[in-house]
Symmetry: C2
Subunit: 117 residues, 2 copies
C-alpha cells in the first residue's frame, strides 16, 4: 500500500471527475457508485464523511445530508492508475434511495456459464 495525496489523483482524465465506489467496511457489500471532483474528495478526507459531486445538480453533496444515511469513512483506497477511488465506509441505514441496503439490487441472468466449469 502506497500513500498518495489528493494532487496525485488523475481528475483530468475524465473532465475533473473520478468514479467512486462505496463499499461497506464490515459486510464488504458494494453499496453504490458516484463521482467525486477534487473538492468532494478533500471534504471527504477532512470531515470523515463521504462526499460526492452531483453531475445532474452540479454541486457538492454529502451522502445522507437529507436522509441521514451517512457514510462514515474508514479508508480511502485508490487504484493502480489513480483514476478510480474506493471509499470503505460504515453505512448508516440503507445506502439506496429505494431504502434497500445497497443500490445493486437488480441482476441480469447469464445466458450461459453460470456455475459451470
Amino acid at each position: 500500500m502506497k500513500a498518495l495525496n489528493v494532487e496525485e489523483i488523475d481528475f483530468a482524465k475524465s473532465g475533473g471527475l473520478v468514479p467512486v465506489i462505496a463499499q461497506d467496511y464490515s459486510t464488504k457489500k458494494v453499496l453504490m457508485v458516484a463521482f467525486a471532483n477534487e473538492l468532494a474528495l478533500k471534504e471527504t478526507l477532512k470531515t470523515g464523511y463521504a462526499h460526492y459531486w452531483s453531475r445532474s445538480r452540479n454541486k457538492l453533496w454529502m451522502k445522507g445530508e437529507e436522509s441521514g444515511h451517512v457514510q462514515r469513512i474508514k479508508k480511502v483506497l485508490v487504484d493502480c492508475d489513480s483514476d478510480t477511488i474506493l471509499y470503505l465506509v460504515d453505512q448508516k441505514g440503507p445506502a439506496c434511495h429505494t431504502n434497500k441496503p445497497t443500490c445493486f439490487h437488480n441482476y441480469i441472468p447469464l445466458t450461459r456459464g453460470k456455475n459451470s466449469k
Copy 2:
C-alpha cells in the same frame, strides 16, 4: 432482486458506456473498475467471462486474454438506476497488471475522522 435484460441498461447516459466494478465473489474484494458497452456486456453474459470495452484502444477485450488472469462470472448485478454494473467473479491469478491481487492497492490518508466517533 429484479431480473433485467441488456436492453434495460442505460448505456445512453454516458455515451454508450457504463462503469463496471469487478468484485471477487469469495473474498468480496473490489478488484478493478473498467467500462462496458452493450457488446461487452453481451459477450460477458454469453461466454461467462468478464469482457470490457477499452476506451483507449477502442475495442472489446476479455480480461485476461493476454495474461491468462481471466474473471469467471458468478453474477451480474445492476444498480438502482441501471447505469452501473457489478460483476461478481472468480478471479484467476492477480487482477492488477502490476501483479497485485487487486488494483486498489494505494490509499489516501484521512486528514481527520479515522476511527473516531
